[in-house]
């Protein structure tokens, strides 16, 4: 259990929690309880599962505490008895969870972190998909180089820049956008 500075995955997890707290608050305000349950319980739990997997269990103490407390508060309107138990017996809070203020994000959602996390997720999904595709092919008796018994090596290639022919048009677009601040697309 770590303390101290946040790593990249710590910041992703914190940011995802903050985004889900905001979403859940909005769903409760709109009396959309199914959606509030989705973002406040199911998605919130998935965020934790992802964090446990990517950190290999090497989690930050403060974030886990933050998670348990926020989870209790988000679900209190729907599961008040369970929440009361965790609030008093596990978190050792004085008083009832019914008197506590609703969950608040620790800071506003950072779209840059969210985008970075989405990129990492989609990349790791792509890797898993590529692997399972090989396994399926092998199961069907097709000839593949992939051998699941052998140690694996993964190479990831990253382009730091767009290809020149694309960059040319991005530059052109940027120039126009700065000049008129409006682009009209005609079909």
């Amino acid at each position: 259990m770590r303390t101290g500075r946040y790593t990249f995955f710590d910041r992703c997890f914190e940011n995802e929690m903050n985004a889900l707290i905001d979403l859940t608050t909005a769903h409760f305000d709109a009396t959309n309880y199914k959606l509030a349950l989705k973002t406040g319980l199911f998605d919130f739990q998935n965020a934790k599962s992802w964090y446990l997997v990517v950190t290999g269990g090497d989690v930050h103490r403060d974030l886990i505490l933050q998670f348990i407390e926020a989870q209790v508060l988000l679900i209190t309107p729907i599961a008040p008895h369970w929440s009361e138990y965790i609030w008093r017996e596990v978190l050792k809070k004085s008083g009832s969870v019914q008197d506590a203020a609703f969950a608040k994000p620790s800071c506003p959602e950072d779209p840059v972190i969210a985008a970075a996390q989405a990129y990492v997720k989609s990349l790791s999904d792509a890797v898993h998909q590529a692997e399972s595709l090989q396994v399926k092919k092998k199961a069907k008796g097709k000839q593949v180089v992939f051998d699941p018994k052998k140690p694996k090596r993964l190479s990831i290639y990253v382009a730091r820049e767009f290809p020149a022919w694309q960059q040319k048009y991005i530059d052109a677009l940027e120039e126009l956008y700065d000049e008129v601040c409006l682009i009209t697309v005609r079909h």
Binding site: M1, T31, N32, I68, I78, A79, P80, V90
Partner: protein, 203 residues
Amino acid sequence: MAYYTIAHLLHSKIDGSELGPANIPAKDMTDEIWDYIFLSKEYPSNTSVPESTLKQLRNSFEYWYPLDVRVSGKDLINNHLTFFLYNHTALFPEEYWPRGIRTNGHLMLNGEKMSKSTGNSMTLREGVEKFGADATRIALADAGDAMDDANFEENNADSAVLRLFTEREWSEVFDYITQLTTGTNSQSFEHAYWAIYLLRPMF
């Protein structure tokens, strides 16, 4: 709905067989008295009900009105809810018009219509006895929003029981580990053993 704001003062039994704290028999509730309560008209001269009692009724109405939200089924949009709007606009000034209406679909059980003849039914009390209050509430919240027919799935209530149980256990184990790691021996065998629990895929 305006009547709800004073009903508890007019009768203490739902069928009206016993008078409420205001102690006014039904026959004494004249049109003028209703106007006094709901429309702030003058205290009528032809009544034996004391003004202080009527003031109490009026206060209760003015405290609660306008209503924030009326919740009803989608089958009542064409009749009850429409006339609810007509009546309020006809009788009351704009400040007492309803602020919101929320409608819901019918509640299904395990994907089938609830009905007496097929026996496909469950009362709230039966739900609570079977799954506990919190899991029942989770399955109800998960049943659906808005106008679509909501569907209470017993499987969802079952998995909610498991979900709440494992999450409680996980939180308790974490609590235990933080106590261990605040000591000096954070690499102990016991720590490693419990850390396995943290890593279990949740639900």
